[in-house]
């Protein structure tokens, strides 16, 4: 479904991605783990077209998207929940959700999907007319995921959904991620620092270091891999 071929991305003179190869198959949950500054966020931003790669190819459904503008990429079916959630602080919860459906014109479908995400995260129903900036961190993460779902993506990119949240909320959010994958058949590309958690929900995983993929395998095999254990699982 999604294929990154030798992707190199630069910030000015600094090369953040040094030839990344990743493949995501339809219907799976894959995770990209690695330490701070390894290039995980840059990988997602390259896919979304915010920092287009300097060289290499990104293919989505066999079509090149590395020279496509961010709004077109969303319309092709790739949505992102960025790191730090990025809720529109002065828009209400409802307005945030409507922004997620910005490119859609099917009013009934949008209304149905709002009901669906309110079903996933009932707390948002209570907050519907509150400004996004007034929500707690966990609620903002729920809203950010809901907003991305409002575009009805085929591929959902999630950047550090567990960041800064209480363990209980993290568990709840990961359950929902699994549910979205199984119920909506949405393919999920999960970037996480919490490798243990990520590898538990994912089918396959990639390990990134210094802008390169250094390891890829099935998630359960990565969980028992000695090097991964030592570097990322703290065992």
């Amino acid at each position: 479904m999604l294929k990154l071929v030798n992707v190199k991305t630069f910030y000015g003179n600094i090369q953040a991605l040094k030839g990344v190869n990743i493949e995501v198959r339809e219907g799976e949950i894959i995770t990209l783990i690695g330490s701070n500054g390894a290039g995980k966020t840059t990988t997602l931003m390259s896919i979304s077209g915010i920092t287009p790669p300097g060289s290499g190819e990104i293919l989505f459904m066999d079509q090149p998207i590395h020279n496509v503008s961010p709004d077109k990429i969303v319309s092709l079916g790739i949505s992102q929940v960025p790191e730090g959630r990025h809720i529109f602080p002065q828009l209400t919860v409802m307005e945030n959700l409507h922004m997620g459906a910005f490119l859609r014109t099917d009013k009934d479908g949008i209304a149905d999907d709002i009901e669906y995400v309110f079903g996933l995260f009932p707390i948002l129903t209570e907050r519907r007319n509150q400004a996004g900036g007034t929500l707690s961190g966990g609620e903002q993460q729920m809203l950010a995921i809901s907003r991305a779902l409002m575009a009805r993506p085929r591929l959902l990119l999630l950047d550090e959904p567990s960041l800064g949240l209480a363990p209980k909320i993290v568990r709840q959010i990961f359950d929902i991620i699994r549910k979205i994958n199984s119920e909506q058949k949405t393919t999920i590309f999960l970037v996480e620092q919490n490798a243990n958690l990520a590898l538990q929900v994912a089918n396959r995983g990639y390990v990134m270091e210094n802008g390169r993929i250094v390891l890829e395998d099935y998630a359960d095999r990565l969980l028992s891999n000695e090097a991964v254990k030592k570097a990322y699982l703290g065992l």
Binding site: D71, F88, F102, G137, R147
Partner: protein, 300 residues
């Protein structure tokens, strides 16, 4: 008392024009964090376009009110085209440059357009026809509030109400607010940010053009320099209210209008600008973000 009311209403008229132009500054700043110094020149161009259109239409024997409407319409379209083009030429290529570069480009654009109007037209003041007809029902109050002033106040009110509704309730308005609050995220939900920026410039320019036509027919003469003065005043109003804030621009416009009006009326017209800018200095000292502006804080 009557004198006070007269000054109050004069300030209201003046303030509504400042507000109208200040909206252009504040909206552009809200979206791309740029002070568009060429905004005042858009106002000049609007006034000149209206003058030329009005002269032509007068030759063809149109009546006052149709000239007013048609001339305003042409001015709005022409100025919007200028605003759109200025952004494409002078600011868009510098979108990722350090912040000083587009600012310098803006000042350059302002100087260029001023001199362009100077060369294309003249350095002299040109008489501008009073396009607003004398309303019969205003005869009684003519000495404190003229028909033109009434028209200015009504037009600007209607325009500002429409703008508020557009920003609050339409899809494009929501996208503008979203872009102003978090540009990258707006891109990630599929907003074509370049389009939003263009629309913002078009709306801001249209407002400036309306302001230009109204004030020109009130004062009765224009030259190439009017936009510079009006621009600086409107910019002051925008900063006063809190740059980036739309209600702030309107509030700042009115406060500035009243300050000038009362200063002129009770002290001397020589002190009009002194009071206006003294107010700005005070606000900047005690409330640097402006009256309604918020200093940015982000929850992580």
């Amino acid at each position: 008392m009557e004198y006070f009311i007269q000054l109050f209403l004069g300030g209201l008229t003046r303030g509504s024009i400042y507000a109208l132009i200040a909206l252009g500054y504040t909206m552009v700043y809200g979206i791309i964090e740029l002070i568009n110094f060429a905004h005042g020149e858009i106002y000049t161009i609007g006034a000149f376009t209206a003058l030329i259109t009005a002269s032509v239409l007068t030759l063809y024997g149109f009546n006052e009110i149709s000239i007013l409407i048609l001339a305003s319409l042409v001015a709005v379209i022409y100025s919007s085209a200028y605003g759109f083009t200025i952004e494409k030429i002078a600011y868009k290529p510098l979108r990722h440059a350090p912040r000083l570069s587009p600012l310098i480009s803006a000042i350059g654009m302002s100087v260029f357009l001023q001199n362009y109007v100077l060369l294309a037209q003249t350095s002299d003041f040109l008489p501008f026809p009073g396009l607003v007809p004398e309303f019969q029902f205003m005869k009684k109050y003519e000495h404190i509030f003229s028909s033109t002033e009434l028209m200015i106040f009504l037009t600007t009110s209607v325009v500002m109400i429409i703008l508020t509704l557009v920003i609050k309730f339409t899809k494009i308005g929501k996208a503008m607010r979203a872009t102003a609050q978090d540009r990258k995220m707006a891109m990630l939900v599929g907003v074509d940010v370049n389009r939003i920026v263009s629309i913002t410039f078009i709306i801001g320019s249209a407002l400036a053009a309306i302001g230009g036509v109204l004030i020109a027919s009130h004062i009765g003469q224009i030259n190439f320099y009017i936009g510079f003065i009006a621009g600086i005043k409107a910019f002051t109003a925008a900063v006063l209210g809190g740059i980036g804030s739309i209600p702030g621009a309107v509030l700042g416009g009115f406060i500035l209008g009243w300050t000038e009006s009362f200063a002129t009326g009770y002290v001397s017209s020589d002190y009009e600008d002194v009071f206006a800018f003294a107010l700005l200095v005070l606000i900047l000292i005690f409330r640097p973000a402006g009256i309604l502006g918020k200093s940015k804080a982000q929850k992580v």
